[in-house]
C-alpha cells in the first residue's frame, strides 16, 4: 500500500467561476483540492465538464455519481452501466491510448495505479490534462475513493447517499457474521488452469468479511495457479465459480467440480456462481458482490425467505 487516501480539503472562494461551469446547487463556486492515492494534489475551481475514466471500476463510480454526461471516454472493458458502452473508447485499461485520450479534450482523467501510471501522468499533463490516481487496496478504500472523486467533481450530495448505503450494508454483514463458524471456501477465479484468489485480492477480503475462510489463503499472489490436490485436501464446504460473463450459469465448470465427490461442497451441492465483475472491481457494486458471497456462504443468515 503506497498511499493512503486523504480527505479532500475544500475551500470556499468568492471569485466568480468560469463561464463554462453550470450553476452549482450548493451556491457559489468554490475551489476544491483533491489529494489522490499517490499524494498528488489536483485542483478544480469549477466542476470538470469532460472526464475520461481509465478503469471499469472508476467508470462505475462516476456513473453512480450521476456524471453520465461528463464522462466522455472509457476503456474497452467498461461495460457497466449499459450507457458506458456507448462512450468513446480510449483502449485497454492497462494500455490506454494517450492520443485518443487527449483528443477527447478531457479536463480530468481518472485512473487506477498501474506500472505505467507515472509515465501516463506525465504525458497527459503535457496536454494540460489533470490526472487523478486511485489505488484501492481494501473494500473500505472504495468508500474513500468515491468520496474523493465526488468532491473533485462537485457531487458530494450524491456521494453521501451512495457511501451511506454501502457502509450500512458492509457493517450489517460484519455484524451478522461476528463470532459464527467460518466454512472453508474455494473461489475459482479461472478454470483450466485453476486460478485461486489469494491475500491482497478483493475477493479474498470479501470471503473473510462474509464470514468464510478462504482455503486458498496460502496462494503466493493475488491470483495464482492453484493445485487441485490442495483444494481436495482442504475439503472446502463452499465452491464459488467466478463467471466472466454476467448471468453465465457456468454449467460445464459446475459439472467438472461435481466429479470430485469427496469434497463436502460437492456432496452438499454447494457450488455457486458469482459474477466476477462484482468481486474484482473496486466500485460501488462491490457491496452487491459481498452480499452475493455472504448469501452463498451463510444462506441461513442472509437468504431472505421468498416473499
Amino acid at each position: 500500500m503506497v498511499a493512503v487516501p486523504v480527505l479532500i480539503i475544500s475551500i470556499l472562494l468568492m471569485a466568480s467561476c468560469s463561464s463554462q461551469a453550470p450553476p452549482l446547487k450548493s451556491g457559489a463556486p468554490y475551489e476544491v483540492i483533491g489529494i489522490d492515492d499517490l499524494g498528488r494534489e489536483v485542483r478544480f475551481n469549477h466542476p470538470p465538464q469532460r472526464i475520461v475514466s481509465l478503469d471499469p471500476s472508476i467508470t462505475e463510480i462516476l456513473f453512480a455519481l450521476g456524471l453520465n454526461n461528463e464522462v466522455v471516454g472509457v476503456t474497452d472493458y467498461c461495460d457497466y452501466p449499459e450507457e458506458a458502452r456507448s462512450k468513446s473508447k480510449v483502449g485497454g485499461y492497462l494500455d490506454p491510448n494517450i492520443e485518443a485520450t487527449a483528443l477527447l479534450e478531457p479536463e480530468l482523467v481518472v485512473t487506477t495505479l498501474k506500472t505505467d501510471t507515472p509515465r501516463l501522468i506525465q504525458q497527459l499533463e503535457n496536454f494540460g490534462i489533470k490526472v487523478f490516481v486511485l489505488d484501492p487496496q481494501k473494500i473500505e478504500d472504495i468508500l474513500e475513493n468515491i468520496s474523493s472523486l465526488a468532491k473533485l467533481t462537485y457531487r458530494e450530495e450524491r456521494a453521501k447517499q451512495l457511501v451511506g448505503t454501502f457502509k450500512e450494508k458492509l457493517n450489517e454483514v460484519k455484524r451478522k457474521v461476528d463470532g459464527i463458524s467460518r466454512p472453508g471456501v474455494f473461489l475459482e477465479m479461472g478454470a483450466d488452469p485453476l486460478i485461486s484468489v489469494g491475500p491482497g485480492s478483493f475477493a479474498n477480503d470479501l470471503i473473510e468479511i462474509a464470514g468464510g475462510r478462504n482455503v486458498a489463503s496460502q496462494s503466493s499472489s493475488r491470483y495464482s495457479r492453484y493445485t487441485l490436490e490442495e483444494i481436495l485436501l482442504a475439503d472446502p464446504e463452499v465452491i464459488i465459480i467466478c463467471s466472466m460473463v454476467p448471468d453465465d450459469p457456468c454449467l460445464a465448470q459446475k459439472r467438472w467440480w461435481k466429479r470430485w465427490t469427496n469434497m463436502s461442497a460437492v456432496r452438499n451441492g454447494r457450488i455457486y456462481v458469482v459474477e466476477a465483475n462484482l468481486i474484482t472491481r473496486p466500485g460501488p457494486r462491490m457491496i452487491e458482490g459481498l452480499m452475493e458471497i455472504a448469501k452463498v456462504i451463510h444462506p441461513e443468515i442472509f437468504l431472505e425467505p421468498e416473499r
Partner: protein, 343 residues
Amino acid sequence: MKALSLKKWLITVLLLTILLVGTIIFCSFQGSADINFKDVIEIFSNPLSQNWWNTKAVILLKVRLPRILLACMVGGALAVSGVVLQALLRNPLADPYVLGVSSGSALGAIIAILLGLNINIGALPSIPLFGFAGGLLTILFVYHISKIHRKISTQTMLLVGVITGAILAAIIMFITSIADPNKVHGIIFWLMGNLSSQEYPMLLIVSFYVLIGILILLYHARDLNLLVLGEESAIQLGLEVEHTKKIAFIGASLITGAAVSVSGLIGFVGILIPHLMRMIIGSDHRLLLPVAGLSGSIYLMLADTLARTLLAPTEIPVGVITAICGGPFFIYLLRKKRKPIFL
C-alpha cells in the same frame, strides 16, 4: 556408424523403461498431499471397501496419475519429434518450434477454443483435432513452399519454417489482443504450457495419436539413418527419399499436434533431449528414437512434478522449469565435451 547389436538395443531400452516406470512411481508420491507406500497398499488392498475413493485415492488416481501420464506422453512426443525433424533437416536447430509445427498446432487449438468448440467430432474432442490439423497444415505448407524443382532443400525449409512460425505466432498475438478478454486469459495460460486438469479419456486419445506416430517413425528409423548421410547417398543406397521424408514429416506433426493441443506450448524438450541423447548414445536412429522418447517422457514428468510442488500450493508454468533446468545442464555438457555434437 557402429553396428547396433540387438542386445545393446534391448538392454538400453529396457533400462530406460524401468527408469520411466520408476519416475512415474516417484512422481506419484510427490505433491501437497502426503501419500506414502502404506496408503497405496491400503488403497489397492480393499478396492471395494468404502475407503476406495477416499481423498488420498482420488488425489493419487484421479489427479496425479493422469497428469503424470500426460506429461509422459507429451514429453515423449516432443523429444521424438525433435529427433526426427533434426534428422530430416540435418540441422541441430530443428525442432517442432523452429519449423512452425507447434505454432500451427497452437493456432488450430486456439481457434477451437475461441469458437467455443468443446464438442466432439466423431469420437474425438475438437481441440486436439484442430491442433493436429493446424500442425499438419503448417508442415505441408512449409514443405511445399520449400520444394524447388521437385526437391526439398533442407536449408530453405528451415528458413521457411522459422518465418512461418513467426507469422503464426504473430497471428496468435493478434487474436489474443482482439479476442474477448474473458477468453484471452485462458489462451495465455494455455500458451504457457499446462498439463493440469486433463482426464483419462483425453489421455487415451493423446496416447493413441502419439503411440501410432512414434511406431510409424520407429519403423522408418533405418531410413532416417540413411537420410542423415545426405540425400545423394541415401538415393544411391536405394532409399525413396521424398516418400520417406513425407511420412516422417507427417508422423512428426501428428505427435506434435496431439501433444501441443492438450498441453499448450512447452518448449525445450524437443531440442534438449535429442541432443543430450545423441551425446550419450550416438545417432543411430533405431536406438536414438526410443531412447529420446523415453527420456523426454522422464524429463517432462520430473519437470511437471517440480512445477506443481516447488511453490505449492501455487503452480508454476511447466515450460519455465523445462527451460531453466534443462538449459544450463545442456550448456554444461556442451562445454565438457568440447567438440561439435551434431551427427
